[in-house]
């Protein structure tokens, strides 16, 4: 009720009385030409005196500040650069005057320990990716990278490009520069380092030579060196986590960093499988380097030479170790943990302090192991937790081996032969059809006609003799018999 009543009548006309609503005086003070020339009146003498006094005061203050400034700066600056700066207004002082060099950095390592909810504490992760002739895998890898849900600005990327004969470096650089120049700021990553170092590998990187037993020890030691070079060049005092990822992972959850971090372990790995063609069973455990130690393996280790390296997954060294890969249940709880002694390198999340304390990828035989398996062993030696997730699976790309390729060629030939045979068969059937025709339709027509006749006959029967009915029925039966004969 009140609002209606008050509107209008109770509003006081505030601007009517004073008359200054638009800033101009109203009434008699209105002037038609406020900007016309008026001679400058001389200021009173006392005002001029105070003005000059104020000016003298300002000059004195400035001179004093100037002197103070020159003296405090002392002789630290060389005169030549100062002179140059004067003439160039300080803009040409080699590199621009909009920055200063910061030479001292202070970091408290107890602030970068790594916690279960790192993304909330802005914990930085160093993502390490060793590369060699990996151009073909890069598009897939970058699609994974872009999709990672961990805040990109907290991810520092480090790549090691070694002994590559293809354009890995060029493709990598272009992809990374595109990401950093992207309009979407959420895409930009933190520090990006591309490290080049050739180790002069003699071993080929193709599947056959890569997994051949004889080449393993040497290959693993070399791979370990590469990983260490990458890590030592890229690890910084502000990293809380280090994530190792192979470039040829085909399928992995976008939340993998958070998923692994949530367990808050020193070293943690997921299960790694790979998809296979149907004729090979559809899928297969891939990474056999994640395992628990067994007594058999320990006994075996004691009998071996100091420089020998036990490699897993080869008949030559039967270790009977429980493998993370074989314990997978596709419907199992992905949070189930399993203690490990050796780990595989496809996807490792470790706290940065693990590497800072000195755990690395042994490029020598450490307790008869090298590279990632030696890394797991060394972490255990320093009482750090090493965990695997048997039911949390990522998928490695399938690269057919030479045998597989042979087999697939054979299968292709068989398939082609089969297709040919089927085609011929179909053609034959077609010919038969054409030459003999299809009688089925005719039979149906005839049957219908016969039934019509029968109905008509029945009508007639009501008037005619019953003997005629039997005659018609006989006729129909005879036709049906004929039909069946034709089919057989």
């Amino acid at each position: 009720m009140l609002p209606f009543a008050s509107s209008g009548s109770k509003v006081t006309p505030r601007h009517h009385v004073s008359g200054y609503s638009n800033g101009y005086p109203r009434g008699k003070t209105f002037d038609i030409s406020p900007h016309r020339y008026q001679p400058r009146g001389t200021a009173p003498t006392h005002r001029r005196r105070t003005q000059s006094l104020v000016r003298i005061g300002i000059v004195a203050a400035i001179l004093f500040l100037l002197l103070l400034y020159t003296f405090t700066r002392g002789s630290s600056s060389s005169s030549s650069s100062s002179v140059l700066s004067v003439f160039s207004l300080g803009l040409l002082s080699s590199g621009g005057a909009d920055f200063q060099l910061e030479t001292v950095r202070y970091h408290d390592l107890s602030n970068v320990q790594g916690t279960a909810r790192g993304w909330e504490r802005e914990e930085r992760i160093l993502v390490c990716v060793p590369l060699r002739d990996a151009e073909a895998h890069l598009p897939m890898f970058f699609s994974h990278l872009r999709n990672l849900t961990y805040p990109h600005h907290l991810l520092d990327l480090a790549f090691l490009v070694s002994d590559s004969k293809d354009n890995t470096l060029g493709t990598l650089t272009k992809n990374l520069e595109d990401i950093q120049a992207a309009e979407d700021e959420a895409m930009h990553f933190g520090e990006i380092s591309i490290i080049e170092k050739d180790f002069g590998q003699v071993v080929n990187q193709d599947v056959e030579s890569r997994h051949g037993f004889a080449a393993q020890a040497g290959r693993r030691k070399l791979m370990a060196r590469a990983r260490n070079w990458l890590l030592t060049a890229a690890l910084r005092p502000y990293h809380s986590w280090v994530y190792w990822r192979d470039v040829d992972v085909e399928t992995a959850p976008f939340t993998i960093l958070e998923d692994l971090m949530r367990h808050n372990k020193d070293v943690i790995v997921p299960n790694v499988w790979r998809p296979l063609p149907e004729w090979l069973g559809g899928e297969q455990p891939y990474d056999l380097n994640s395992w628990q130690e067994s007594d058999t393996a320990l006994t075996l280790a004691d009998t071996l030479d100091e420089d020998a390296v036990i490699v897993e997954g080869y008949a030559e060294y039967a270790t009977y170790r429980p493998h993370l890969a074989y314990l997978r249940d596709p419907y199992g709880d992905p949070d189930v943990e399993m203690e490990l002694d050796g780990v595989g390198g496809v996807s490792i999340l470790a706290k940065a302090k693990v590497f800072r304390y000195g755990v690395h990828f042994p490029a020598f035989s450490f307790e008869k192991h090298a590279e990632t398996e030696g890394f797991g062993k060394m972490a255990r030696r320093m009482d750090l937790s090493v965990i695997g997730l048997p039911h949390y699976t990522i998928w490695h790309a399938y690269e057919p081996s030479v045998d597989d390729i042979k087999h697939m060629e054979q299968m292709k030939r068989e398939q082609l032969a089969q297709e040919q045979a089927e085609k011929e068969k179909a053609e034959k059937a077609m010919k038969l059809k054409e030459s003999f025709g299809d009688a089925t339709g005719q039979w149906e027509k005839d049957k219908l006609e016969m039934q019509n006749i029968a109905v008509q006959d029945k009508k007639k029967d009501t008037a005619a003799a019953p003997a005629a009915v039997g005659n018609v029925v006989d006729k129909v039966a005879a036709r049906q018999e004929q039909q069946e004969d034709g089919k057989t």
Binding site: S52, I56, V59, I62, L65, R73, S76, S77, S81, S85, V86, L89, G90, L91, S94, G95, A97, F99, Q100, L101, E102, T103, V104, R105, Y106, H107, D108, L109, S110, T173, L176, Q180, F189, G190, E191, I192, S193, I194, I195, E196, K197, R225, N228, W229, L231, T232, A233, A234, L235, P237, Y238, K353, R356, Y357, G358, H360, F361, A363, R381, M382
Partner: protein, 371 residues
């Protein structure tokens, strides 16, 4: 007040106003120059990183305005990082690493007089988070600020990294007596090894050629120590560590061997190790555990050649020049019993396992602080 522009105004301008204007101009110019301090030589500026997220072995440009751009894609070609017997001629970068529990002014004075171009030297420190460590950090920072901002140009180092440990201090006391008790040695040295590794692996940059380990209580080295040790082109190079003291008998200053961790293995020591539990460690310098190793500390000869070499199986950390490649290959200071050896001695063993032979110079001396 509205008034006409033009010549009339200039004519009427007070000379005092002009003087003030001129003074102000000079003043502004002076500030423009001031903002481009401190003066770094061109080479320093060239090596500076453009973003704070960068290897700590380089200084970075402090952006004074505007939004920070995303970090650039940085390339580092480690094939081009050389480690040669002529580090000076090839302008090789040195990383000088010091685990520090106490700050000795003599240590700082000593590294200031190093005759290797300071713009090629990066310093790295790691200090424990104890009361003592805080005190040392304060004093260290004071000296650093003095050198880096107001000291002479040639004294300033390329960059400096100060780290604080994340390791719980194993012992309260850093007293000489308590520190050297045998049963405390393994825990103490394991913590020490972790501190060394933390310092090493978070500061080692992609441009580093050599790493000079120098303990905080080494107060006297020859000023050319980097060139002298690098000259031998050895992977791991240890000078002999001595200590100066007042000899009461001779009534004069004298020196005595200090660091006993530089040694050549003996059959006795190897035998002892064989019988030991793999988690136990062999220690040097304890009468309860006579190893009969050949100690470099006692191999010094007054008339010996300064640059005489001897191969070593164990090294001490007092002063040690290491090729960056050795650490990059993975050689670190084991904080656990590695072949029954720990810390710097374990490091020597690990280097050997990786194919790098440590070498010592029995007649080339550095001096330890006398407590």
């Amino acid at each position: 007040m509205a008034r006409p522009m033009g010549s009339v105004r200039l004519k009427k301008t007070n000379p005092v106003t002009l003087a003030i204007g001129a003074a102000l101009c000079i003043f502004i110019l002076y500030f423009l120059i001031g903002s481009s301090t401190p003066d770094f030589s061109a080479s320093r500026k060239a090596t500076a990183a453009s973003h704070p997220l960068s290897p700590p072995t380089s200084p970075f440009r402090k952006s004074t305005g505007g939004k920070l751009k995303p970090p650039p894609v940085a390339h580092y070609d480690l094939n081009n990082v050389t480690t040669t017997p002529q580090p000076l001629e090839n302008r090789e970068n040195i990383l000088l690493l010091t685990p520090m529990a106490r700050f000795y002014p003599a240590y700082w004075d000593n590294i200031l007089q190093l005759q290797y171009p300071h713009e090629l030297i990066t310093l790295g420190f790691i200090l424990p988070k104890t009361k003592e460590g805080n005190e040392a950090t304060r004093e260290l920072q004071k000296r650093i600020t003095k050198t880096q901002t107001s000291g002479p140009e040639k004294d300033r180092f390329k960059s400096i990294i100060i780290l604080r440990e994340d390791i719980d201090p194993p012992l309260v006391s850093q007293d000489e007596k308590e520190r050297h008790k045998m049963k405390n040695q393994k825990i103490r040295r394991a913590a020490m090894a972790k501190a060394r590794n933390s310092l090493l692996f978070s500061t080692l940059g992609p441009a580093t050629s050599w790493i000079l380990w120098l303990d905080a209580d080494v107060v006297e080295t020859p000023p050319t120590i980097i060139q002298d040790l690098a000259r031998h082109d050895q992977a791991v190079m240890a000078p002999n560590c001595f200590q100066r003291f007042w000899n009461e008998e001779k009534k004069e200053m004298d020196e005595r061997p200090y660091d006993f961790n530089n040694w050549q293995d003996s059959a006795t020591a190897l035998d002892m190790a064989k019988k030991m539990d793999p988690d136990d460690i062999l220690l040097e310098g304890y009468s309860e555990m006579a190893t009969f190793r050949t100690l470099m500390a006692y191999m010094t000869k007054d008339d010996g050649l300064l640059h005489e070499e001897m191969p070593l199986d164990g090294v001490g950390g007092a002063a040690l020049l290491v090729k960056a490649d050795v650490h990059r290959d993975g050689a670190m200071f084991p904080p656990f019993a590695f072949y029954n050896l720990i810390e710097t001695e374990g490091f020597a063993k690990m280097s050997k396992r990786l194919g790098w032979q440590p070498v010592g110079l029995p007649n080339y001396k550095v001096y330890h602080y006398n407590e």
